[in-house]
Symmetry: C2
Subunit: 352 residues, 2 copies
Amino acid sequence: MKSIQASSYPIHFQELGYKSLETILAQNTYSSLFILVDENTMEYCYPKFMANLHTDLPIEVIEIEAGEIHKNLETCMGVWSALTELNADRHSVLITLGGGVITDLGGFVAATYKRGIDFINVPTTLLSMVDASVGGKTGVDLGVLKNQIGLFANPQMVLVDPEYLETVTAREIRSGTAEIIKYGITYDQNLYQQIKKNNKLNITKLIHKSIEIKNEVVLQDPKEKHLRKILNFGHTIGHAVESYFLESQEKENLTHGEAIAIGMVCETYISSVLFDFPKSELQEFKEMILSIYGKIPIDTREYSAIMDLLKHDKKNNGGQVNFVLLNDIEKYEIDCKVPEDLIIASLNYYRS
Amino acid sequence: MKSIQASSYPIHFQELGYKSLETILAQNTYSSLFILVDENTMEYCYPKFMANLHTDLPIEVIEIEAGEIHKNLETCMGVWSALTELNADRHSVLITLGGGVITDLGGFVAATYKRGIDFINVPTTLLSMVDASVGGKTGVDLGVLKNQIGLFANPQMVLVDPEYLETVTAREIRSGTAEIIKYGITYDQNLYQQIKKNNKLNITKLIHKSIEIKNEVVLQDPKEKHLRKILNFGHTIGHAVESYFLESQEKENLTHGEAIAIGMVCETYISSVLFDFPKSELQEFKEMILSIYGKIPIDTREYSAIMDLLKHDKKNNGGQVNFVLLNDIEKYEIDCKVPEDLIIASLNYYRS
């Protein structure tokens, strides 16, 4: 697969990725190398990664607990303390080996340790390959509020090796698929139609195409002032639903993609009411989403908690919730205000 | 006083400062204004500040506990949570009103809240006027390790009003004076001689000169790759001594300046051994420091704990402690290695 050049760093694939990593580690005058993993990537990805890593640097591994629930400041403090105890200095480099929690949290920890050390992302889940490891967003959750604390910081490189996907569950693959669907519906008609027609697509090509799209969007608008907002499609309602399930004692957590899939159905419905998104396409879109993710049970009594979480969305401005909506596939409208009863109606549409 | 232009933001003084603040708040489309204070600046500085603040923005005040011991991630979490509860959004702006703890911590909190909101520094102590509020360093301590977590982030402007110094103690003024002495000995012979000869200097002029020097240094080397390292003179041993007093149960904490004054005496001594720093000047320098700060009691039994803390200094590289030393006043050498027994000898020299 051809490498992709992001703003200040390259995204390399497979064998070339490992070769480039070797070069970067050899060319920089790093003092030591740290690898951030969770218990899953330690068991399933670390052996393969180490077999492909060639460096003379001293290596230390830092392991955190897996799961979105650990993507918080307490975990950061554990990693900062571990780096300190293991004598990481300003010339150390951190490799993040894992899913979105590892790449988001690891990037944040690296960018703020002694005012910033280099880091390299090696995403091991579909979601982190197509989304989390590209675009410079790093951060952690504050309570149930997703990515409330963080900053923009770029890695030195990203290494994408789809072979790591053999280590993850089918549910995780579906989670990442939601972001690929988002790239299609907001930005690439062809990609969208491919996914709609056929579920047996070449995953490596899908990943490459997704990263190309995300990179194209981010290069044009790194700080999310205009175009990059399209990447939030489905995420306004989706994040609120995700946070709601995360904070609920009774409900099993949703994956990010499951929540975003619900958000995309709701926001496509709102698009069909406020803009011209075709009703027939809306219906087919909902059917496709339900065929992949099933229908997640949400009760009307849960709406008010979800609405409360919406009010804390990072994209809000002066108390107003900001949406990205669609006139059609590929035709987006940013900074849309949506009345509360229409948000409720969109949740009803999802449930209907 | 004439305004000073830093890399991306202005430093305004006195009346012009308040006028410029009014303009900045009016010209940007901020949604709301937050003011970070501690209990001291709330009581002594906030009334004067509010009397001079003219804005139509909704204002909320967030108060934290005063003191270096609260410059940590727990306090950050309190401020991030308060911002969240008070519905701060990406278009909110944070004004830090206080000493180095408030400006360093406030800048870090702002730069990482929802991936970064604008902030404006209003330093109220001599130390924060001449050092902490200029140069883009933000951060908090991790345990006793000073500024271990942080990042480079610039404010929108800095407002310096020396009238706030009427609210602080003589001990705090002495603390800030140490940084002014540092600017003199490392970078400005004239300034150094003025301080040596006369303690009755115009404080506003001293502040202005100090900020000019710091700004000149930072503009040439924002990320501390070479020249900016001179600002660490006295800070290698000084930070270790400061951390040691901070973590000790028995000892009263030192101010930053008191610790840095000890560090400067030690590092000038080392300079006279390893380089050509004149012995007579060394002796006069030590006398001046002792006349301002007295002699802080340090016992030989405490050396090993101080040496341990030195090993965690942010400036270290591959386990080596990095010093800035002097051939003479204004004549610096960066990235110097110093044998451990010479560091011990320098502490003995301070105590002798």
